[in-house]
């Protein structure tokens, strides 16, 4: 698969590699990678398990331009160990966030594609998640918006889901999923009656892009193209909220209201009906245009929280 993109308007974000996503997302030729694969900063843990390593440890970080604005970017390669956070993988993101405190870019973009922490280096991975979340709050407090883009095969799960929750704004596509525990984990612990992980329509009604957008868990819904994610990123940078007490209190109020309003729902479709969708069962099959029209009609999914 090529890491170069010829037509971002037709290239699937879901299908593209992390490098290809960056290539199509940023202004052409503007990406400068930090700690590139030629430096071979690889996982010190994977050889203990006789597992193959990647020269970039599945995390690509660097600087580039987005419509002329200086931005810092991080992209996870979901096809290497499910985009999971290991020691080097996590440290590269922490380092990028700390660099943002000095460089003050127009935004820092995280292209999520992760199942969470890498089991083989769990302690280092868990620590990395915590460090990333702390660093994101510092970056946001310094006035730099942190934008998450979620539309890869692995979604944003586990610690990746937690990190997504600390971002200023999130864009998601239909194929994108955001959650902490994955479907198989829930089924294993609670049984198939509670959550049937093989019922993929149920998985998407619960964790998928449309559901997250409808409930305000994500702030923009993008078509599955690299160009659509670029458009969404630009819009979210412009509308990112300040990181202050008012925003955090608004977020707390939003979450409390959400649990009060939907806490007894057994299925995503029930929530969508309460949100005012006339035909909730039709939502999964909607095109982006139809879904945008629905969002405009419901009209309460934009908020100043987070």
């Amino acid at each position: 698969m090529s890491d170069r993109i010829t037509d971002p308007a037709t290239t699937s974000w879901y299908e593209a590699s992390a490098r290809a996503r960056l290539d199509g997302l940023l202004d052409p030729g503007s990406f400068r990678e930090f700690i590139g694969p030629e430096q071979r900063r690889m996982s010190p843990h994977l050889p203990l398990f006789d597992l193959p390593r990647a020269f970039d440890d599945g995390m690509i970080v660097g600087a580039g331009r987005l419509d002329g604005q200086a931005v810092l970017v991080a992209a996870q390669e979901g096809r290497f160990m499910g985009g999971a956070f290991g020691e080097v993988h996590g440290a590269k993101l922490v380092g990028l966030l700390r660099a943002a405190l000095d460089q003050k870019p127009a935004a820092l973009l995280i292209l999520f594609d992760t199942g969470g922490v890498r089991l083989q280096e769990a302690n280092a991975g868990e620590t990395a998640i915590a460090e990333v979340m702390r660093a994101i709050t510092q970056v946001r407090a310094a006035g730099v918006p942190v934008i998450g883009l979620i539309g890869g095969r692995a979604g944003a799960y586990g610690g990746g889901g937690l990190i997504a929750g600390t971002c200023s704004r999130l864009a998601v596509s239909e194929g994108g999923r955001i959650s902490v525990s994955g479907p198989e984990v829930i089924e294993t612990n609670k049984g198939a009656e509670e959550f049937d992980s093989r019922d993929r329509a149920l998985v998407w009604r619960t964790m998928g892009g449309k559901h997250r957008r409808l409930t305000g868990g994500a702030d923009a819904f993008a078509d599955d193209t690299v160009a659509a994610f670029r458009t969404a990123a630009l819009r979210l940078i412009d509308t990112a909220p300040a990181f202050d007490l008012a925003t955090l209190e608004a977020e707390q109020a939003r979450l409390e209201e959400r649990i009060a309003r939907f806490g007894d729902c057994r299925d995503g479709t029930e929530i969508w009906a309460r949100l005012g969708a006339n035909d909730p069962a039709a939502i999964p099959a909607m095109t982006t245009a139809e879904f945008d029209a629905l969002l405009a009609q419901i009209g309460e999914t934009t908020h100043d929280a987070r």
């Binding site: 299908e15 095969r153 194929g175 998928g208």
Partner: protein
């Protein structure tokens, strides 16, 4: 009464015993056990309909709840061992002997039970072979079958998944047997009569609709560039060269990739109308883009596929449909079509040895055969020529008078050199031989015999076994495409290069294929949702294949 009607009299007695639990022909789901205990006799040959797709599951549950003191030592003669109940009855002593074809999901358990001596195995058959024996020496005394709906007279609508049912009923009903059908609902008038009511003795309204496995759905999102490369080689190096119009595909990702490359890669090669026009095939969702692009003239189906019913209804020019509009499938006829009227079978397997014998049996799993050994064989009863068949015949070693030469069916194995979990596909010795030794089987469970295989396609290239002139050439041709497996690394490099010069081994570059062009962008559909779009919203994929 003369001595020529004993079977008929026995049948009448069974039916009379069964009527005690029925209203006319109709039996309540709650009375299934009573009915079965009334009509079954120890030692009966029983076909409990189950194949690789649909299952008479309500009747299977009933049979497994029968009292082993009353119902025991049954001889099961059915194509599929798929549900847990199919094996439970052997543990309980209800059944003793088994003749079958396919046991995909129960492959591991059936292996353990065979080793443990809980099952007296007759043979593992190909579908057509088992069906044939229904009419000669394995005629069922009782058939327990599944349909969509029935009326009170027993007229049966089997729906899109007709599959084995007509064959099973034919053999049972016309030879003094008893036929019990489970249906999803009893109706006043069935949409169409697939089985006339006078062949059905009892109709059970099942507690829930019969289960159908979506066995033939391959998610394009999971297709790899290696599989795409193999598909490109098959299209350019085999389909185009032999002009293959009439064919059958197996169910692997390699063949699904071929289906998805027809409207893109094959179209660019100018092959539309020249290849892949007439099919013996289940309604594969991955064939939708080729159908919608006008590639496909017609498709006859063994069974149906979950979610394809509405699409098929709207494409009667392509599929075989009934007066009611829905698909009519028939496994026996489609297997016959695949054997005699197709010029190519292409499928994958788990193990191939140095001669080209292949098997899906491993020491811990006995998956059975299904249809592949039938369609993957050269039918010696064929007498009609086709350009494809004759070209293959000319390539094979002709002995004797060339005027008496006959054609050859193309039987192609398309495999990655390493399978799941990096297990090598190419082996010195098939696990099937070890299994046969341990179980004292007279016949090793070989899927496709070496003398039927004409080509092997891997990511490394194509081996044309027709052109090999002796066993040594054949072995080196196979080693020559076996990649980095032990078998592949054991090749005689000089000899493989000589075979390459003769076109027996061909690499992608020999075919004018650049491996880096094998990209997912070539797929006509990259996801299940793309297939839904291609179908104009008519394809309704099962929930487990959705990501929206």
């Amino acid at each position: 009464m003369s001595g020529w009607r004993r079977e008929r009299a026995a049948r009448d007695a069974r039916i009379e015993a069964g009527r005690a639990h029925a209203a006319g022909k109709v039996v309540a789901a709650a009375s299934v056990v009573d009915l079965l205990e009334a009509i079954l006799r120890p030692g009966d040959r029983v076909c409990l309909e189950g194949d690789n797709q649909k299952q008479a599951d309500c009747l299977a549950r009933g049979l497994s709840q029968c009292d082993p003191a009353r119902v025991h030592d049954l001889h099961m003669v059915q194509s599929g061992i798929v549900l847990p109940e199919h094996l439970d009855i052997f543990e309980q002593g209800i059944a003793k002997r088994l003749d079958y074809s396919y046991s995909g999901p129960q492959g591991a358990r059936i292996a353990r039970m065979l080793y443990g001596g809980q099952i007296a195995l007759g043979a593992v058959h190909t579908y057509l072979e088992l069906f044939a024996r229904y009419f000669i020496d394995l005629t069922p005394n009782v058939a327990l079958i599944a349909g969509v709906s029935a009326d009170r007279e027993g007229n049966l609508y089997t729906g899109p998944n007709t599959e084995d049912t007509p064959t099973v009923v034919e053999a049972t009903a016309f030879k003094n047997g008893v036929v019990v059908a489970q249906v999803n609902e009893i109706v006043d008038r069935v949409p169409r009569v697939d089985i006339p009511g006078d062949r059905i003795d009892f109709v059970v309204e099942a507690d829930k609709p019969f289960y159908v496995e979506p066995l033939f759905t391959r998610d394009p999102a999971a297709m790899t560039e290696t599989q795409i490369l193999m598909a490109m080689m098959a299209i350019k190096g085999i389909y185009a060269e032999y002009g293959i119009r009439r064919l059958n595909h197996g169910i692997g990702f390699g063949t699904a990739a071929i289906e998805l490359l027809l409207p893109t890669y094959a179209e660019r090669l100018g092959l539309k109308g020249k290849i892949a026009t007439h099919w013996a095939l289940n309604p594969h969702p991955t064939l939708i883009p080729a159908i919608e692009s006008g590639w496909v003239s017609q498709v006859h189906c063994f069974g149906s596929e979950v979610g394809m019913d509405r699409y098929i209804r709207e494409r009667p020019d392509v599929f075989f449909t009934g007066a009611d509009g829905s698909l009519r499938s028939n496994r026996a006829f489609c297997q016959t079509a695949g054997l005699y009227a197709c010029d190519l079978f292409i499928g994958s397997t788990l193990q191939i040895d140095l001669s080209g014998h292949s098997s899906t049996v491993t020491q811990s799993r006995v998956a059975g055969f299904g249809g592949a050994p039938n369609m993957g064989s050269d039918p010696h009863g064929r007498r009609h020529p086709s350009d494809t068949w004759m070209k293959a015949g000319r390539e094979a070693l002709v002995t004797g008078d060339p005027a008496l030469m006959r054609g050859r069916k193309l039987v192609v194995q398309i495999v990655e050199t390493f399978g799941e979990k990096l297990v090598p596909t190419f082996v010195e010795k098939l696990d099937a031989l070890e299994l046969a030794r341990k179980l004292k089987l007279e016949l090793a469970p070989v899927m496709v015999y070496a003398d039927d295989v004409t080509h092997i396609v891997t990511e490394e290239g194509i081996a044309n076994l027709l052109l090999c002139r002796d066993a040594d050439e054949r072995e080196q041709a196979i080693r020559g495409v076996a990649g980095y497996t032990e078998v592949g690394r054991g090749r005689d490099r000089a000899m493989v290069e000589r075979l390459r010069a003769r076109g027996i081994v061909r690499r992608p570059e020999d075919l004018g294929i650049e491996p880096l062009d094998a990209d997912r962008s070539l797929l006509a559909a990259k996801s299940i949702k793309d297939l839904v779009h291609w179908s104009g919203g008519l394809y309704e994929p099962p929930a487990k294949f959705r990501n929206w």
